[in-house]
Structure formats: structure tokens, C-alpha cells
């Protein structure tokens, strides 16, 4: 039976894969953002597990930074989605190809 921090690492891997597939397979921008949040949380979980395994505080400090950045990202991201929806009447990612090369 692995220890609790080890279980946290495995769980964070699972969460990250779920988030990654969510980003890759979803077409709706909002769901894609949700999946990105899941991936960020997976990363946070990995930081915390690692810091409890090494008995240091570094991981937990970084986690706070990540949460702050994630909150900003969610705010800016949602604002972008709203203005995109105003311009194109859609939040489907396949419709938004205006930067195509």
C-alpha cells in the first residue's frame, strides 16, 4: 500500500490526463478552460505531495502562486470568451480560426 503522498502523485497524474484529454477533445471553449483548471489543479496536487514527501515548504509556496495565476487566467480567459462570443456568436473552438496561417 503506497503512502498518502504517493497516492497524491498518482491521483495528480490521473487528473492531469483527464484535463489534457478534456482540452484536446472538447470543442467548447468554456469546457476547455475547465479542463485547463483541472490540469492546473493536478499540478498543484503534485507540488503538495512532493513537498510533503521531502518535508519542505517550496511546493506549497509555489501552489499559492499557481492558484493566484489560475484565478487571473480564469478572469482574463472568461473576458476573452465573452468578447469572442460577441464578435462571432460562437464559443466553439473550430469556428475560431481567424489567426490561421
Amino acid at each position: 500500500m503506497p503512502s498518502l503522498p504517493e497516492l497524491g502523485i498518482y491521483f495528480s497524474l490521473l487528473l492531469f490526463i483527464i484535463g489534457l484529454f478534456g482540452v484536446m477533445l472538447r470543442k467548447n471553449l468554456i469546457f476547455m478552460m475547465l479542463s485547463v483548471e483541472i490540469m492546473l489543479n493536478a499540478a498543484n496536487l503534485a507540488f503538495i505531495s512532493a513537498s510533503s514527501m521531502t518535508h519542505t515548504m517550496d511546493g506549497q509556496v509555489i501552489m499559492f502562486f499557481v492558484m493566484a495565476v489560475a484565478a487571473c487566467e480564469a478572469g482574463v480567459g472568461l473576458a476573452l470568451i465573452i468578447s469572442l462570443y460577441r464578435a462571432k456568436s460562437s464559443v466553439e473552438i473550430d469556428d475560431l480560426r481567424i489567426l490561421r496561417g
Binding site: 482540452v23 470543442k27 473552438i93 473550430d94 475560431l96 480560426r97 481567424i98 489567426l99 490561421r100 496561417g101
Partner: protein, 651 residues
Amino acid sequence: MQEQTLLTLIVLLPLLGALINAFVLRFANVGVVCTVATFVVALPFVFSLMLFFGSVSEGTAVTVDLFNWISVPLINGKEFNIPFALTADRLSGIFLLVITGVGSLIHLYSGEYMVHEKNPYRFFVYLNLFIVSMLLLVLGSNMLVTFLGWEGVGVCSYLLIGYWYEDKDNSMAAIKAFIANRVGDAGFLIAMFLCYMLFKTINYSELAAIIAASPQTFLADHSIQITLIGLCLLLGVAGKSAQIPLYTWLPDAMAGPTPVSALIHAATMVTSGIYLMNRVSYMLVLSPTVMTTIAIVGAATAILSATIGFAQTDIKKVLAYSTCSQLGYMVLACGVGAFQYGVSHVVTHAFFKACLFLGAGSVIHAMHHEQDIRKMGGLLKKMPITSVTFIIATLAIIGFPGFSGFFSKDAILAAAWSGPFGNPIFWFVGWITAGFTAFYMLRLTWLVFFGTCRAEHPEHIHETNIVITLPLVLLAALSILGGLIAIPEVFTGKTDFITQFLSPVLGQAQSVMNAAGFHGVHLSHTMEFGLMGASVLIVLVGALFAISVYKNGPQGGDKFAKAFGPIYHLVRDKWRVDEFYELILIRPLAKFGRILHSFIDKTIIEGVVNGIPETLYTGTSVASDAQTGMARNYLKFIFISVFIFGLILFI
């Protein structure tokens, strides 16, 4: 100096005429164009006369060295030089007169014949260029200048046969003539190279001097090379002079305008083979094999094309086959060692054949482009001048006593029996051919000019104007008088004119033949009269037979067609030689070409050429997938690259 200038002008004037017509008078009317074109050939004719009756007929050759044409330094420190030099001696003098004389008459005639053409200037430019090439051919003092003219006449012949290039048949005929000539030209080229290898020169006078210095050496030690050179030259001659195996282009060449048939395919270009054989006669006589081959080719062509003449119904085709046949006589004359009689027949033939062709042109013109002799008849009353001149020329070509063809042909027949390489068999073939010629020529004349008119609108047919009839009358007069140059010894008691006249040129060949022991047999006067009588007899038989068969029109021949069934069809289809060539040469070559096309071209060459851009295209299309603008694609790349990067990092 004076004569050198004349000689240069003779070549330059027609060239100038061609340039003026091509660039200045493009849109002038036919009268102006024709006047210029005729003038630049008629003036050289006057110059040729001056030159001819000046020093050339005295026996002095006039040479002019225009410029150094080709100059290549060789490895051994020497230099390979080909000067662009012209020489007029007695042999080229005769050809000079025929080319410019008959040429200017035909230019004059063309002015009327081509009057309804849209762009007549094109026709006259080609004609003038042809005259330039032909003059270079006979005046060149080395083989390369001759070859330049030799190719030039080929090109002009191609352009003129295909003058009405919008018609596919005409274009095909032009291509056929061009290709058959190329085959012959390859022979001439190889002969020229071999000549340079063996003698280290291709200048005619130097060649003659080298051979004259030691004929025995070349007879004994170099017989294989000499034979090879001779046979390659013969191939060239066969191409230009329409001999077996390359004769099939000449009848098809009749697709061109009639003045072209008269000038190129009867009077001048096709005789260049005879000129060449005379020019290098001292070399040909070194090899009995070559001489016999030449004689056989000539005799075979003479009789084969005469038989084809029996069943042709196109007035120009009959004349074309008769040209092949008469050229066969000339080649036979050269082959048996009587080169000068080849030349005399060239001269008389130029007169009467040009007259026949121009007469045929006059008939075709009057009949509104009808060429089928079965639809003619009774033209004697409607077109008296054309008819009488045509009949005179016919009598000349069949060798009717007193006309020019009689003397020149009789000289050849006598030489075929008694010449240094002669043989009674050659005489016999020539004799039979004379009968055949009389038959098909009288068939032609009778169907066209006698009997009842079978045209649809006989009332429209009338004599053409003076521009057409004047050349006819002049040529008919020459067809009677031209024989004077070959009146045999038996009538005058002295050697005939042409033999005497050409002896400075042909003496070399004569002395080689004497040295090698080829003397020929001496014909007694009784024998000679006997041969002459036999010729006259067979000519009369042939002629009367033709008249009796065709006296009621073309259906007279149907009885023969029935009686000879398969043979008649074979003759009418020209012995199916074209089909034979098609089967053994053209189709395999075409098939080979298709294999090359599908394998080498498509697979290898196009594979490489198309393969490079295709690979690049595939590569770039993969790269351009990274630029779709689809977020999920970008993610895919990010994920894959991170995965790969991770693998690299951890393994």
C-alpha cells in the same frame, strides 16, 4: 577579278532577292514580288552566260575564295581549315546555266500560276533560297560547301512541298520528302568523314590530285575504304535523286505547287546526285563494286518506276514516276562509266521535263485544279500552245528520233552496252524501259489532249496567258535543240560535244579506268545503228500500243485491268513499296519510339523531374498542417512534442 565578282554575284543576287521579298515586299502584290524574284535569277543567268562563254568554256576554272569558314586547331599542331570557296568549271558551268536558265523561266511562270495565293511572297522567297542553295551545291569547291547547298535544297524542297501546309496530306508529303532526304544525307556525311580520314582533305581538286598521284595505291591498298565511301555517297545520291531504295518521296512531293515540281523535282534538285557522282567520278571508278552497284540501282529504278507509271491517273504523278525513271537512266550512265552522258541527259531532261510539268500546270490551271487524266481529253483544240509544247516534250522524253531525248538517251543505252562497266543486261533493261516510257507517256498525252473532252464544264477551258505560254514555248524549243550536245559520233564523224566538253573534268576518271584496265568494248558503227534501230522500234511499239489501247478513252485500259487482275492492282498500288516500308521500318521504329516514350521518358526522366517537386510538396503540406488555425491541432503538436521530449529526457 572581273570573273570572280561575277561568280560571287551569281550566288549573292538570289539571296538578296529572297531577303528583299521576305522583309521589304511582304505585302506587295504578286506582280512586284515575282518581278523581283525573277530578276535576281535572270540576271545571274546573264552572268552565267558571260562566265560560261568567257574562261569556263575555254577550260579554265574560275575560283573565288570568299572567306575562311571553319578553322579548328588540331592536337598535332596543324590546323583544320575549310574555306568557303566557289569554283566554276565546265561541269558546274553546265549546271549553272540549267539552274539559272530554267529557274528564271519557272519564276516567270510562277508569277501567273500563284496569282491567287494569299501570301505569294513566301513562295518566291523559298524559290530564291532554293536557287541559292542549288548554286552553292554545284559551285562549292569542297564537299562541305556542297553539303551546305545539299541540305539547303532539302529544306527548301520541304518548305515548298508543304507550301499549302494547312492540308494534312501536303504536310505529310513534305515530311516524307524531308526524312527520305535525311537518310541520304547521312550517307553523304559519312562519306565526307571517311574521305577526310583517308585523304586528309575534302577539297575536290586536292582529292583529284592525291588520287592522280598514285591511283594504283588506292586501287590496291584502300579498296575497302574507297568502296565504303562510294556506297555511302550512293546512299546520298539515292536520297536526292530519288533512286531505290529512297525514291518513294518524289511522287508524293507532287503535292507542292506545280512550278515547284518543275523546278525542284524535275529539273534541278533531283539531278544533284548526278552532279555529285560526276564531281567525284575519279573516286568512284576506283571501285568496280561501287560502279556496278550504281548501275544496278539506276537500271532497277528506271524500270520499276516506269512500270508504276502505267496505272497512275494523276497527271503529275505520272510525270513524277517518269522523273524517277529518267533519273535512273542518268544514274545508270554514271554507273557504267559514261558520266558525261548522265550530264547530257540531265540537261535535256531539265528542258523537256520542266516543259512537261509546266504544261501539266497549265492544264491543271485551266481545268480548275483537276488532276485526274480520266476527266480530261480533247484539250488539243482548246489549248493549242500548251498541247503542242507538251507533245513536243513527250516526244523528247520517249526518245523519238530527232528530239533531244533521243540523242541523250541513245548515248546512255549505247554506253550501257559498251561502257567500261557496261553489260548487255543493262542495255536490255534500259531498252525495255524505253518501251515502257513510250507506253505510259503516250497514254498520258492521248488521254489528256486527244479524243473527246470528259470534263464537266468543257466550255470553260481555254488557253492561259503569255506569262505561262512563253516559258512553255522556250522550253519546247530547247527540248528539240538540246540534243545537239549529245549527237553521237556515228552521225558527225567526231566525238560528241559533251564528251569533249567534259573531258577536262572527267579525264581523271578516264585515266584511272584505263590504268585499272576497264576499257569497255568498242561498238562498230553497224552495231551502234542496230542498237539505235532497236530503241526506235521499241519506242514506236510502245507508243502505238498505248494509242491503240486508249484511243477510245480511259476505259480502254479496263480490259488490261481485268486480264492482269492481281498484277494490275499491285502496279496501281505502286508495288506496295510504301506499305512494305511502313511494315518493316516505320512501324517497328514507331513502336520502339513508344517504348522509349513510356519507359525512359515517362518513368525515368519524368520520374526524376516530377519526383523532386512532389517530394517537396508532400513535405511542405505536412509542415503546413501546423498552421491550420485549429487549436486542437496545435495541442496535438504540443502534446506529441512534449511526449517525445520527455522520452528523450528520461531514456
